[in-house]
């Protein structure tokens, strides 16, 4: 019960770990945008190289990063099959029975796979692997605070995330306790048809919900006792400061996008 990892934060102290969470959110968005700028095989090569560089900077073991790609393997396979078999082009590679595979299809499939891989690695490097959930929540709150002008509940959303993060481990622990208690009275969760198993969950969910509501009520009173009255007039203990490294990374990212566009323009190998 002691090892609940939320997200896939990998503790460390690399340059990427130390960046301001606000900048990291912006950098992740820019990186995803950059991956869509790629048009030529050379710009894709540059993109792949950038992902490798990011992994090296983060000092996170590549095997750990690759493991994170496993859940999307199916989506990638699906994309490949679809693109390879269904794209029509000019250079026919294989023409057998009803199967027609064109060079364009293969290239599109490869570029899609590379793009998805890089997007996942990129967001991981900037956000999930190097930023704690708390820092991320904090970053979201401050980055989007200008949206309060449009009456968007930015502070409330961040507070909800914080409380959720705080109570997830407690509720998991409680679920385990209730399950153990029900098992001790002869409840059976692991055999029977799907329907029977679903039914066996009801005696767990009911007490869990009751307790969650009771906790919510107590927490609300405790928050009121500690003078909580929403985001208005609230100060923060830790103030985020953008450092030189943050601005340098931002500039580098914009430069990277410009380089990709230049490569597309001047080295349009296998233009897609």
């Amino acid at each position: 019960m002691t090892s609940i990892t939320l997200g896939q934060y990998f503790p460390g102290n690399s340059l990427l770990h130390r960046l301001d969470p606000r900048f990291k959110i912006v950098l992740a968005v820019l990186y995803i945008t950059a991956s869509f700028l790629c048009k030529s095989i050379w710009s894709f090569a540059a993109l792949a190289l950038s992902a490798v560089v990011l992994i090296l900077i983060s000092r996170i073991p590549p095997s750990f990063v690759l493991r994170g790609l496993r859940p999307i393997l199916f989506i990638m396979l699906f994309t490949v099959v679809l693109n390879v078999f269904l794209t029509r082009g000019e250079t026919l590679l294989i023409d057998f029975w009803i199967i027609h595979i064109y060079l364009e299809g293969v290239l599109t499939a490869l570029s899609m796979v590379l793009r998805i891989t890089v997007i996942i690695i990129g967001t991981g490097m900037f956000l999930t692997y190097t930023t704690t959930p708390i820092a991320l929540t904090d970053g979201i709150e401050r980055l989007f605070s200008p949206l309060k002008v449009f009456h968007l509940p930015v502070h409330e959303f961040a507070m909800m995330m914080t409380i959720a993060l705080r109570f997830i481990p407690i509720l998991i622990e409680e679920t385990e306790k209730i399950m153990a208690a029900q098992k001790a009275r002869g409840a059976d969760f692991s055999t029977g048809s799907l329907m029977q198993r679903a039914k066996a969950l009801i005696p767990i969910l009911v007490p869990l919900f009751v307790s969650a509501f009771r906790r919510a009520d107590e927490l609300a009173v405790a928050m009121e006792c500690r003078c909580y009255r929403g985001g208005e007039g609230r100060t923060r203990m830790t103030v985020l400061h953008a450092t030189a490294a943050d601005w340098v990374m931002l500039a580098a990212m914009i430069l990277f996008g410009a380089v990709l566009l230049l490569i597309n323009r001047f080295a349009p190998g296998f233009a897609l």
Partner: protein
């Protein structure tokens, strides 16, 4: 000098299912001096916790007055700022440590109160460090609350209240869910806050030995003030306490039983140490001596 907390003719009733009103507090009046350590005793449903929630306006009384530091907080014209000032002055620590911690990092949680009050960042940092040091949790500043023990979590909760610089802290059965170690730590912190920082402590409890540490004890029964006095006065009436389902600390009970059996034991005997001394003195007086304990 006027008392710090003055409660006059306080009434409160809950709406029950079926439209019935259940009176929880009936014409309750008492006062607490600044810097006093007061225990509130009573069995379940005697209105103890309701009283605590009325004192910082989480609940509003049906009738009666509450005056804190000269300001009547039950005044209907109380401004919102005054309301939050009351909540800041009257810090409250609850029973379940899990349900009062908000943030996912200890020091962030301690900062929650001052952040709500709009205290400048550097000042929050200073208060958080000081509060954590006071409860002995400095080295856990960056831990996640769910990895701490119950007693440690409760100490963090207390630090979160201290960081708001309250005049008074109400402990609503704050030791009830703790193991003996955690309870001892929390009680020691309560004593410290009272003796060294001059913070008024109100502790709601049904542990008699915790009430014995207070300067004064208020006993509530069915929403009415049943008895009040020093722990020694209160616990010298075990029959009156027994009538409403409360008992006296075990050691005091022992001394009472000895007296009933005709053995003259002197003193109040509120703690095991006092009790042991009194019994030894009684033995010596009747000529019984003990061999020194073997070490």
């Amino acid at each position: 000098m006027e008392p710090f907390i003055q409660v006059e003719q306080l009434n409160y009733a809950y709406d029950e299912d079926g439209g019935q009103r259940r009176r929880v507090l009936r014409d309750l009046s008492f006062s607490v001096e600044r810097g006093e350590y007061v225990a509130i005793l009573g069995h379940n449903g005697s209105g103890k916790s309701t009283l605590a929630k009325l004192l910082n306006l989480i609940l509003t009384p049906d009738s009666g007055k509450i005056i804190i530091a000269g300001r009547e907080i039950t005044d209907p014209n109380l401004t919102e700022d005054e309301l939050y000032e009351v909540r800041r002055r009257m810090g409250m620590v609850f029973q379940n440590p899990d349900n009062q911690l908000v943030a996912t990092i200890v020091e962030e949680d301690v900062a929650f109160g001052p952040e709500n009050l709009g205290v400048p960042s550097e000042e929050i940092r200073r208060r958080v460090d000081e509060a954590l040091a006071l409860v002995g949790m400095t080295k856990y500043a960056h831990h996640e609350p769910h990895r701490l023990s119950g007693g440690q979590k409760q100490r963090v909760a207390i630090a979160g209240i201290i960081a708001m610089l309250p005049d008074c802290i109400i402990f609503d059965e704050s030791t009830a869910m703790l193991d003996p170690m955690g309870r001892r730590d929390v009680l020691r912190i309560m004593d410290n806050l009272n003796r060294e920082r001059g913070i008024t402590v109100l502790t709601i409890t049904h542990y008699m030995n915790e009430a014995a540490r207070a300067d004064r004890v208020l006993v509530l029964n069915d929403g009415e003030l049943y008895m009040q006095g020093t722990p020694a006065e209160i616990f010298s009436h075990p029959d009156r306490l027994a009538a409403i389902g409360l008992d006296v600390p075990q050691c005091t009970d022992l001394v009472h039983q000895l007296r009933d059996a005709g053995i003259a034991v002197e003193g109040d005997c509120l703690t095991p140490a006092q009790c042991a001394d009194a019994i030894c003195a009684a033995c010596a007086a009747s000529g019984i001596t003990f061999a020194p304990p073997r070490t």
